[in-house]
């Protein structure tokens, strides 16, 4: 057994690290470090830099711009981006719609959409959840009725991240109610966000940020060519996406960076005349968190190693999501705790540009989302129970 990276893997990591140091713009890095909200322009800028380097979609097939990296290289790349404090890329085009089109899209759909996802000129969002269909996604009701060469879509999506900045939305819609099985009769549509009949309304969240929306569809016409895979095969597409291997689920790189920041911050916060870092009660929580991150990074590598040996990813991804998000939440919680009474001050503008104190409580609030989104952690536990434990 060998827990170390090979010389080639380390060389690859250094190449990525050096490139990031040279090409990640300082102002973006600083804004990520300050927990500033990022605009579409911010995201598009970083997207464009990676696209120009041809590193924007490593997992795609080489003929569509993929890098041909193996799973370990892809993991290292994502970890390095996270650790460097690069803006998180919007996943909806690159990691979700792209892979779906590559697997199920028609040649025309691939030609139309993939290059624009790749170069970042079109921005995507995901229309899955509905007011009555959250964890129980198959109970969705947004309906698409076929009229000649078009569908007419009526209904509502909710929790739609980035809908306010997106050009396109991929949606699960109900095209038939005839089957007993609710998973049948669902189709996967690509819808232009500028279509008449679409209304986007922001959902105000407790941290004050603009991230998620409600999207209303009122007689929205969608050409039949924008359906991916067969009519009624939407659930197959959705399941493929769910099991699509994601190297970065645990976000170890970003959590490592946050941990370093937390230690540095706690070393500068004084309590009873001593650095908070030396307070036993605080330190024990911090240590357990650090140990959990160490363990998860090894667990992650073990799963990657198995993936490389040809085992299918399944419940592993759920486990990484589960523990990875719990770690991310604890990081925000301890950061806020480290600020002490100052955490309650939410100045509109920090007096010192590098001072993150005013954002820590908001970030703590915001990160409650991590155990809810992308399949709540309870759903992940269900998946592990079913797939890995066969309960």
């Amino acid at each position: 057994m060998d827990l170390d990276y090979s010389a080639e893997e380390l060389a690859f990591r250094d190449t990525v690290r050096d490139w990031l140091r040279a090409h990640l713009p300082d102002d973006l890095r600083a804004r990520v470090a300050r927990y500033d909200p990022l605009s579409r322009d911010d995201l598009a800028r970083w997207h464009g830099i990676l696209a120009a380097k041809r590193w924007i979609a490593p997992a795609w097939p080489v003929e569509w711009g993929g890098t041909g990296w193996n799973v370990v290289q892809r993991y290292l790349f994502e970890e390095e981006c996270g650790y460097a404090g690069a803006p998180p890329l919007s996943p909806f085009g690159l990691m979700m719609c792209g892979p779906v089109l590559l697997r199920f899209g028609s040649p025309a759909q691939k030609e139309r959409f993939l290059p624009r996802i790749y170069d970042g000129s079109e921005f995507w969002c995901q229309g899955y959840s509905e007011p009555g269909a959250g964890s129980d996604l198959a109970s969705l009701r947004t309906a698409a009725v076929r009229k000649g060469d078009r569908y007419v879509v009526d209904g509502q999506k909710i929790w739609t991240t980035h809908a306010h900045m997106a050009d396109w939305i991929f949606c699960l819609v109900r095209t038939s109610r005839e089957s007993e099985r609710r998973q049948e009769g669902i189709s996967f549509l690509l819808i232009d966000m500028r279509s008449p009949g679409i209304t986007v309304r922001p959902l105000a969240l407790m941290d004050g940020g603009r991230e998620v929306n409600e999207v209303f569809f009122d007689g929205v016409e969608v050409p039949v060519e924008q359906r991916v895979h067969d009519e009624g095969a939407g659930w197959t597409v959705a399941k493929y996406l769910l099991g699509h291997e994601r190297m970065n689920t645990a976000r170890i790189g970003a959590s490592r960076r946050e941990l370093e920041k937390l230690k540095d911050y706690a070393a500068r916060q004084m309590r009873n005349g001593r650095p908070l870092l030396d307070d036993t009660r605080f330190r024990d929580k911090l240590s357990r968190l650090e140990i959990e991150i160490m363990a998860l990074s090894i667990t992650n590598l073990r799963f990657l190693d198995a993936l490389r040996a040809g085992r299918a990813p399944g419940a592993d991804v759920s486990m990484l999501k589960l523990r990875g998000t719990e770690i991310q939440q604890t990081l925000t919680e301890l950061m806020m705790e480290a600020a002490g009474p100052l955490a309650q001050a939410l100045p509109a503008q920090a007096r010192d540009a590098d001072d993150v104190t005013g954002r820590l409580a908001l970030r703590y609030c915001n990160y409650r989302k991590t155990t809810i989104y992308a399949g709540s952690n309870e759903i992940q536990r269900n998946i592990i129970a079913k797939q890995a434990l066969e309960l």
């Binding site: 057994m1 370990v72 357990r288 140990i291 363990a295 590598l301 073990r302 198995a306 309870e378 434990l389």
Partner: protein
């Protein structure tokens, strides 16, 4: 990076598992447990035959090498079968310390590898807690220039039957001083050694051992400066304890999962209840995380030369493993219901083993403190 065991390790693991499946089933173990010695010399002879007693010992000294990473799979099997024989104390600790610091190592090691000699480590004292450098037992130079020991050691695992004891004793300094500590080989049958035997929670034989003007067979390591050697050996042993725990955790989870599928209440298997499914999932996550850290600890004690960095990783592993021991053992009993508490089921024995392993060489709190103390960031903050 490669996590799968290599062919040699796989073969070794398979033969150990075969041996234990044949000779160490739950009933066979119960018979061994009920015997006076609470361990089996026949099993020990099979260990010798299989070459297990030379694992970690350099081929130059007749061993089979392999380090902690090579011994890991054996320790996992030992944990899974709840082995009672003095493997860790004789091979993981005794042989290692003898190889590193005893003058007559050739003789001792040959005897250990052949299964003729067992060793117990006597370092814990009434007031030492988990700190091995807290030593009150005294080592005295006599006029005739030999060394005599006086003092008392507590909870010396396997002491009642061990041929040799490795004893920490102080020739100089206050009880907490790092300097002045020596390690000494003592015959258990030597004059002045009084053994007060008992059993541990999980059925091992152990003893409090009183030393009164006890002659030393030989010193291990440098005189008065054995603390680094002892700490290194204990880190190595701690990594192996983590691996042993991984085996016991694996059994606890497998047994609990099987029980959830077979036990029926309200007309259905209790494993169909989400409240129990989610708990089983969390036990699985605990196991995977503990397994990762045990592997990291074994690999680290084999390679890391810097003591602080080694201690930091070993402590991290022990914290995670101890937390998993507590979590999984408690949940395993709970999900088994009353049956989980009975002598009749192996799960209650596994509970007891996991409870002991969580504490061996330091519990989670002890290692949390050491983990933080070894952090370069704290050293900086305190500078």
């Amino acid at each position: 990076m490669k996590f799968d065991p290599d062919d040699e390790q796989r073969l070794l693991a398979e033969s150990v598992e075969r041996l234990l499946a044949r000779d160490y089933g739950f009933d066979a173990r119960r018979r061994i447990l009920a015997s006076d010695a609470s361990w089996s010399r026949e099993v020990w002879a099979s260990f010798a035959e299989l070459g297990l007693l030379g694992l970690g010992v350099d081929p130059e000294h007749g061993g089979f090498g392999g380090g902690a990473s090579g011994t890991q799979c054996v320790m996992e099997a030992i944990g899974e079968s709840l082995v009672l024989e003095p493997y860790l104390s004789t091979v993981g600790i005794g042989a290692r310390l003898i190889e590193r610091g005893a003058a007559r190592k050739a003789t001792w090691l040959a005897d250990i590898i052949a299964g003729r000699l067992t060793v117990a480590l006597a370092t814990t004292e009434s007031e030492s807690g988990y700190t091995p450098t807290h030593v009150r037992t005294r080592a005295r130079q006599t006029a005739s220039d030999d060394i005599r020991l006086d003092g008392e050691k507590r909870v010396v695992l396997h002491a009642p039957d061990a041929d040799l004891l490795i004893v920490s004793a102080r020739s100089d300094g206050e009880p907490d001083a790092r300097d002045g500590i020596g390690l000494f080989l003592v015959e258990r049958a030597a004059p002045g050694v009084t053994v007060h035997p008992y059993r541990t929670l999980d059925g091992l034989r152990a003893a409090d051992v009183v030393f009164s003007d006890v002659p030393v067979v030989e010193r291990i390591g440098p005189p008065g400066a054995a603390a680094p050697l002892l700490e290194e050996a204990l880190d190595h042993a701690t990594a192996l304890v983590c691996a042993e725990a991984v085996g016991a955790l694996r059994y606890a989870n497998a047994a609990t999962l099987a029980y959830l599928k077979e036990r029926r209440q309200f007309g259905v298997p209790i494993g169909s209840f989400q409240a129990l499914q989610h708990r089983m999932v969390d036990m699985t996550v605990s196991y995977e995380q503990a397994k990762s850290m045990a592997a990291l600890a074994c690999s680290t004690v084999d390679r890391e030369r810097d003591p602080r960095r080694r201690q930091r990783v070993v402590s991290a592993a022990k914290v995670r493993v101890a937390d998993a021991c507590r979590h999984v053992s408690q949940e395993a009993v709970q999900l088994h219901g009353g049956m989980g508490m009975t002598e009749e089921l192996k799960i209650s024995h596994t509970f007891r083993r996991l409870t002991r392993l969580a504490q061996q060489f330091g519990d989670a709190d002890h290692h949390l403190a050491r983990f933080a103390a070894c952090d370069p960031a704290s050293v900086e903050a305190n500078a």
